[in-house]
């Protein structure tokens, strides 16, 4: 049943300072969606296997469907798909996805974009093998993998 809030959480979400009262069982995914109205992270499996709920916490990709919001440190920096573009200007990863046609139904795309963003931050010029290994936790049922890898290749070539 409904539990009382257990703490006040202070976060930086997509560059904005946010505050939220969270319960001990509030998932980060639900906080982002229901609390902050950021609908880009989505639940595909609820067990951290599909990657549709991937967001970046201090630059690291995590499954927000498994993350209890109350366990986040105050002041941590969260990036969702809504935080990638700067106004009209798309992020390089978004541009590369558009250019390569790296999505079909796009349910996985927000998570995929953030996973690629994190991959390139950790390894700006990944080999094909490295890219496949890093992105293995993000499912795409439409089978847009070849185009996603093409986008990664294009980004790697420019050392993005």
């Amino acid at each position: 049943m409904s539990r009382p809030p257990c703490r006040t959480l202070r976060l930086v979400v997509n560059g904005q300072e946010r505050q939220a009262e969270v319960r001990d069982n509030t998932l980060l995914l639900d906080l982002l969606r229901e609390g902050f109205g950021l609908w880009g992270a989505r639940e595909g499996c609820g067990v951290g296997a599909c990657g549709s709920c991937t967001v970046l916490v201090d630059g690291h990709p995590i499954s927000s469907c498994l993350k209890l919001a109350a366990t986040l440190p105050d002041g941590c920096v969260i990036t969702t798909v809504e935080g990638l573009a700067a106004g009209e200007k798309l992020d390089l990863v978004q541009e590369a996805f558009l250019e390569a046609g790296a999505f079909q139904c796009a349910f996985c795309t927000p998570g995929m974009l953030l996973a690629v963003k994190a991959l390139l931050a950790a390894n700006p010029r990944p080999t094909e093998e490295e890219a496949r290994a890093y992105l293995n936790g993000n499912y795409c049922r439409c089978g847009a993998h070849p185009e996603i890898l093409q986008a990664v290749r294009a980004l790697a070539e420019r050392g993005a």
Binding site: G46, C50, S52, C105, Y139, A144
Partner: protein, 791 residues
């Protein structure tokens, strides 16, 4: 369509970017679960724990007493509701909105709880209890088809929703809900007289569509009595029709709105959650929404498992007969299984010229998750049999597998085993494209020496597949051109990632002489978009494409009517390009679309509209022989080639190279075609190598993504090559046909053929898990045959 016009196409045939690309890439794109439905109750389902049991009593008192609970409904409540039909289904009206009397699979909804929050609904649902009396259950489709098996559905009645399914009847008192027969020549006699008969049984398990977006529905009744439904479906027009029947409403009083889907592949077709959500909306007089969890998706629908027995007779160096007996496991409710058994059953002999053919295709109820179509409509469960048998026959006859297929492959002008002429089939061109991309030596034999690298065994295989386009079916479209040269297409084609809206916009832009960016395509909303049979079976490009062409041409005629007066030429002397109407013979004599509108209406902001209807036809087949002069409007033909590596120590199979070719008729958007072909092939790679819904003690045991993995980046073939083959369909828009499923048709048998090439053993069951491969290797070794040497 005059082929010379091809070079003049401005939008069709070009790789324009997806219409929905910018919003998808920004994450602004809203799926149903991201939408706000103010005041909506959350609905949670309570499900049966037994595969087959009498449902004696469902106790809901404790749940009803929970805080925030608005209502709890059971099958008894359903039966007591006036004016509501308790069951639904596209082929048979066999599926209860909530179980009553008995449950037919573990996971079947027995109660629905609606509460002010999801948390409250879940807490209350946990308190619903039921008394059952267990019944013997059956899950093997072959056993289920035998007399004496527990009967899943005692009485079934045709739903009458589709013209081709109106005359359906099962075998009373049995689990067989459809038996399709095809007879040509005398297969039994030819097999008896053959010098060699191959006889095998192939097994495909049920699998999950696994669209990443789970099913969802939101619905409410307006005070006027109108029913409004927002839902994740591929078939808005069908859902509207079905809900109007179930709830006794006129069609105009049901409005179905479909947002873009996060994948579907056949999993969100006909009715799924809609009836129960609408039932709750009726009972509570509140908006109600329901979104399934992943675990529940596994309990809602699946792809038919199948057992396929096949016989191939060879005599005098020729293949003389082919007999197939297939059991499609449709689970507890038929959904569209009967149509799969009929339409796809007709393709069971394979796309070849065989003189003697016999097919018996059964759709069988079992106590499992209901099954439906998954990208390929039952063809892969058959091609796995008929294409491995082609390689067996090739091996026996000492023929090259590609060469043998070239000899027997059906071509334009041939007659199918049903007696129907083959029209516009690009089968051989697809095979040739694959053979060429694989470097398959022309007319050459596969080299007898197997390439081995340590414990890796390598092999390669090819396979073909065909599928008939869903006929009869109907598409309506309306096109509206505005005075500023922008246009709107109204149609009920669902955008589920396949890119249909982009393709339809390209077609409208081409016909109206607009640049691509000037056309918008409305998403399905039955208050604003006209009837369409459904978005499935690779039918939209062809059917809706044609409807859009017709609607746009009506608009163009009106445009030319006015322009002809001004430019002083007959309307047929005009053309329109880049928002300008001009005289064909004197292109400099022209006027802008806006000028035409001003001339016609005397005012800006005005519109011209047109309508188009396109329907495909078939002739009824003889029920005893399947013979018919016309069985489908056209065919989808595809070919696949693979190179595999098998680790003979672990049994692990890796697809090193995948070549897939599909005949698209004419590529409206070549890049989209490639994406569809590859995507279909990648999905099928998972189904071939590891996906399988496993049942123990009558229950699904791996219904989560932890235990049911999908193909991910590291499972992809090392290299993927796709070939868009263009063998135009005379009746298609610009010669185009659909392409969504073609990449799935032949991949499974191509891998099995490659495994034989690598190991010298036949594997007759998918998925080809390492365990199964190792067992096959051990069996071959036990028979004293070194690996890689064929029997």
């Amino acid at each position: 369509m005059d082929p010379r016009e091809a070079i003049e196409w401005n939008v069709v045939g070009h790789d324009v970017r997806r219409l929905d690309g910018p919003s998808k890439i920004r994450g602004e794109f809203k799926y149903l679960a991201d939408m706000d439905f103010p005041g909506a109750l959350r609905l949670v389902l309570v499900r049966s724990i037994y595969p087959h049991a009498r449902l004696l009593r469902v106790r809901t008192e404790a749940a009803k007493a929970c805080p925030g609970v608005a209502a709890v409904l059971t099958g008894d409540d359903l039966l007591a509701m006036k004016g509501v039909l308790p069951c639904f289904g596209p082929a048979f009206r066999d599926q209860p909105i909530l179980a009553f009397g008995k449950v037919r699979y573990a996971g079947e909804p027995i109660a629905a709880v609606a509460a002010e929050s999801l948390e409250a609904a879940e807490a209350a649902a946990a308190l619903v209890e039921a008394d059952y009396e267990e019944l013997p259950y059956v899950q093997d489709p072959v056993k289920a088809a035998q007399s004496g098996a527990p009967v899943v559905n005692e009485a079934i009645e045709p739903a009458g929703a589709f013209a081709d399914l109106k005359a359906l009847k099962g075998i009373p008192g049995s689990n067989i809900c459809t038996h399709y027969k095809l007879r040509r020549g005398d297969a039994d006699r030819a097999l008896a007289e053959a010098e060699k008969v191959f006889e095998d049984t192939f097994v495909c398990p049920p699998v999950s569509h696994a669209h990443l977006e789970p099913h969802g529905t939101a619905a409410w009744f307006e005070p006027s009595g109108r029913l409004i439904v927002h839902t994740t479906t591929q078939s808005p027009s069908f859902v509207r029709q079905e809900l109007s029947v179930v709830f006794g409403l006129s069609l105009s009083d049901v409005r179905v709105v479909v947002p873009p889907l996060g994948g579907s592949y056949g999993g969100k077709i006909y009715c799924k959650l809609e009836p129960v959500v609408c039932l709750m909306a009726k009972a509570t007089k509140r908006p109600v929404r329901c979104h399934l969890t992943r675990e529940e998706v596994f309990l809602t629908t699946s792809r038919h498992g199948a057992v396929t027995r096949i016989w191939t007779g060879v005599k005098g160096g020729r293949i003389t007969a082919r007999r197939v007996e297939v059991y499609y496991d449709t689970g507890a409710y038929a959904e569209v299984g009967p149509r799969i058994a009929q339409k796809t059953g007709s393709t069971a002999p394979g796309p070849y010229k065989f003189p003697n053919v016999r097919v018996d295709s059964y759709c069988v109820y079992t106590n499992k998750t209901p099954a439906g179509p998954l990208r390929g409509f039952g063809v892969p469960q058959l091609s796995i049999a008929y294409e491995t048998h082609m390689d067996m026959a090739a091996s026996y006859l000492g023929r090259d597998p590609v060469d043998l297929r070239r000899e027997y492959a059906l071509e334009e002008g041939d007659f199918y085993a049903t007696g129907a002429p083959m029209t516009s089939i690009g089968l051989k061109p697809s095979l040739n494209a694959v053979a060429e991309a694989m470097g398959w030596p022309a007319g050459g034999r596969v080299p007898p020496e197997k390439e081995r690298a340590g414990r890796l065994a390598r092999g390669r295989g090819v396979a073909l597949g065909i599928k008939a386009v869903l006929s009869p079916s109907i598409s309506n479209a309306a096109v509206e051109l505005s005075s500023d040269g922008s246009a709107l297409v109204r149609c009920s084609t669902v955008e589920m990632g396949q890119g249909a809206t982009t393709i339809l916009a390209q077609i409208a832009a081409e016909e109206l002489g607009l640049s691509f960016g000037k056309v918008r395509v409305l998403l399905p909303d039955t208050d604003h978009t006209p009837y369409d049979t459904l978005s499935a079976g690779s039918r939209s490009t062809y059917h809706m494409g044609n409807a859009v062409v017709l609607a746009a041409r009506q608009v163009r005629e009106k445009l030319f009517e006015t322009a002809a007066e001004v430019l002083e030429v007959p309307p047929d002397g005009l053309a329109v390009r880049r928002e300008r109407v001009f005289v064909r013979a004197f292109p400099e004599r022209r006027m802008s679309i806006t000028e035409v509108f001003i001339r016609r209406f005397g005012a800006p902001g005005t519109t011209l509209s047109g309508e188009g209807t396109f329907s495909s036809q078939v002739d009824k087949a003889d029920p005893e022989t399947g013979q018919t002069p016309r069985m489908t409007e056209h065919w989808f033909a595809g070919a696949t080639g693979v190179e595999v590596e098998v680790d003979t120590e672990t049994g692990f199979v890796r697809v090193a190279r995948l070549v897939c070719a599909a005949d698209v008729g004419r590529a409206i958007n070549p890049r989209h075609c490639m994406e569809q072909i590859q995507g279909a092939a990648i999905l099928t790679t998972g189904l071939t190598l590891f996906e399988e819904m496993r049942f123990e003690d009558g229950r699904l045991t791996n219904g989560t993504f932890l235990e049911y993995p999908l193909p991910a980046f590291r499972d992809l073939p090392g290299e993927i090559v796709s070939r868009v083959v263009e063998h135009p369909v005379e009746t298609g828009p610009y010669g185009a046909r659909g392409v969504g499923e073609t990449g799935t048709l032949s991949l499974m048998p191509a891998i099995l053929n490659a495994l034989y090439d690598a190991l010298g053993v036949w594997i007759r069951q998918v998925p080809v898990t390492p365990e199964r491969v190792l067992r096959a290797i051990r069996e071959a070794e036990g028979a004293g045959r070194p690996l890689g040497v064929r029997a």
